[in-house]
C-alpha cells in the first residue's frame, strides 16, 4: 500500500472502493452470468482474469513463506488467508468449468464463425479445436468410415437442416437491473415494456436481455 492507495481510500469522489474489491465484483458477476446464461459469454477483455490469477499465485507463495515460521500470532492470519484463497480458487474454477461445459456441449457452433470464436480465450480455443478433431477422428475410425464420403462430415447443412446444434437463445433468464431504465422484451403472448428501477429482478428472454447485460445495464442472477 502506498500513499496513492491511502489517499484514494479517503477520497469521497472515488467512493473509496479499492481495485481488489472491484475485481472481485467483476469476477463474481462474470461467474454468475456464465452459470445462468444459455450461451457462452465473451471472455473478459479487460484482463481481470489474468490480474486475479496473478494475485492468487502471489498469495500461494506468501502462504508457503508463512507456513515456514510457526509464530502463533501469525497463525490465525494464515487461516484467514487460506480460507479466502480457497474461496477465490472455487470462484475461478467454477467459472472455467461452467465455460467448458458450454463449449463441450456446442463445440462446432462456437467454432463456426469468427464472431463466436472471439468469445473464447486462446486456451479454450485450442482445447475446443483439438478436442473436436480427436472426437471426429475417433468417430471416423470407429464407424464413420463405413459411410459414403459425402456423409462423413459433422457440419452438414444440406437440405436446409444444420447438423450443428446451437444453444437456445430464447430461454427465459432472470436479470437484475443496475440502472433505472425502461425495459422491453418479446414474449410468447405479448411484447411489452415496463419501467424498471435499479435492483429490480425481471424475467425475460435471453435474446431481449443480452444487450443490456453486455452493456452493463443489467446482470444475470
Amino acid at each position: 500500500m502506498d500513499i496513492d492507495d491511502i489517499l484514494r481510500s479517503v477520497d469521497p469522489s472515488t467512493g473509496g472502493i479499492p481495485r481488489e474489491t472491484t475485481d472481485l465484483q467483476i469476477l463474481t458477476r462474470l461467474w454468475v452470468a456464465e452459470r445462468s446464461a444459455p450461451e457462452l459469454l465473451a471472455w473478459p477483455s479487460d484482463g481481470v482474469f489474468e490480474r486475479v490469477n496473478n494475485r492468487i499465485k502471489a498469495q500461494i507463495e506468501k502462504v508457503e513463506d508463512m507456513t515456514g515460521d510457526m509464530d502463533p500470532t501469525t497463525n490465525f492470519a494464515l487461516i484467514v488467508i487460506q480460507t479466502e484463497l480457497e474461496r477465490f480458487k472455487f470462484l475461478v474454477r467454477s467459472y472455467l468449468r461452467a465455460r467448458i461445459a458450454k463449449i463441450d456441449r456446442h463445440t462446432l457452433h462456437y467454432l463456426s464463425s469468427s464472431e463466436l470464436r472471439s468469445r473464447l480465450a486462446p486456451t479454450e480455443l485450442a482445447y475446443a479445436t483439438r478436442h473436436q478433431a480427436l472426437l471426429h477422428n475417433h468417430y471416423l475410425s470407429s464407424f464413420l468410415n463405413a459411410f459414403p464420403p459425402q456423409l462423413q462430415n459433422l457440419n452438414d447443412t444440406a437440405g436446409g437442416v444444420s447438423m450443428i446444434d446451437a444453444p437456445d437463445l430464447d430461454t427465459a433468464v432472470f436479470v437484475r437491473m443496475l440502472t433505472d431504465k425502461e425495459v422491453s422484451g418479446r414474449g410468447s403472448d405479448r411484447d411489452n415494456s415496463l419501467n424498471a428501477a435499479e435492483g429490480d429482478v425481471l424475467i425475460m428472454r435471453w435474446e431481449s436481455a443480452r444487450d443490456m447485460v453486455t452493456q452493463g445495464e443489467a446482470e444475470l442472477v
Binding site: 465484483q25 452459470r35 506468501k62 488467508i81 463441450d104 410468447s188 429490480d200 429482478v201
Partner: protein, 252 residues
Amino acid sequence: MASPLPPGLAPSEIAFLCEMELITIVPRQKLESIDLLSGTTPTLRPPRRENVPLWLALLLKKQRRANIVPPPWLHPDSLQDIIHFETKINPEGWAPPPPPSARADGRGNAQRTNRPGTTPLSAPFLSSCTSDAPTGAIPYHWFELAEMLLAHAADDVTSSAEVRGLLRDLQEVRSAKLRAIPAQLEAGIDGVMSLRGVGAMELAESRGLISGVIEGVRKIGASAELSRREEEEQRGDADMDNEASDDDGMGF
C-alpha cells in the same frame, strides 16, 4: 472437468455468494490488518466496530474473537413491519428492496454509489447487511444471511427466538406469492415480467418451476407466436403505407 450443474445458481452457490456480504462486528481481540485477495481487512481494535465479509465474521465468531452486530432489518420490529406490508398493504407483490445506496461526496451532495463510468456494485457487495443498512426493507440475500446468523451467532441476534418465528412467517407469505406465479402465467406470458423485491434463495427455489413453465408454453405456442408476429408486421406495413399516403394528401 466440465461443470455438471444445470444453468442457474444452486442453493449452495447462493450461500457462497451470501458469505461475501459485508457485516458489522465488534472485535473482542486485537487483530492486525491482513492482506487478502479482496483487499486488506480493517485493523480490529476492541470495541471499535468494523465491517468485514460474512465468512470472516463467522470465522471470528466461531473462535470467539468477535461478536456480530445483526443488520437493523433483522430486528423483530422491522420484520413485523415487513410482514405487515406483505400481508396487509400489498398482498400481491413483495416488499420493495432497500433504496440504492448513496454516499456523501464531501460537498453536500448525496450521490449514488453506482455512477456511470465506474463498475456498478450489486449484491453481495452493497453493504446492505451492515449496521448502517436501513430498517423495513430486506436485501437480496436476506433469507440466507438470517439463517446463517441464527445458526452460528444466535446469541448476538436480538430476541432470536422471536426473530426465528417472524422469519418463518415472512418466508411462508413470500413463498406463497412465488408459487402463485405459474397460475398467473396462464393469462399470458409477457416479454418482461417484474419480480421486484424477490430474494436470492426464493428465486433459486422457484427458478426451475417458473422457467420450466415459460419454456414449455413458448415451445407449444411457437407457431402461434410466429403468426402473431407476421400479422403485426403486416399491420405495421399497412400503417406505414397509410401515413405515406396521408403525407401525399397534405402535400397537395
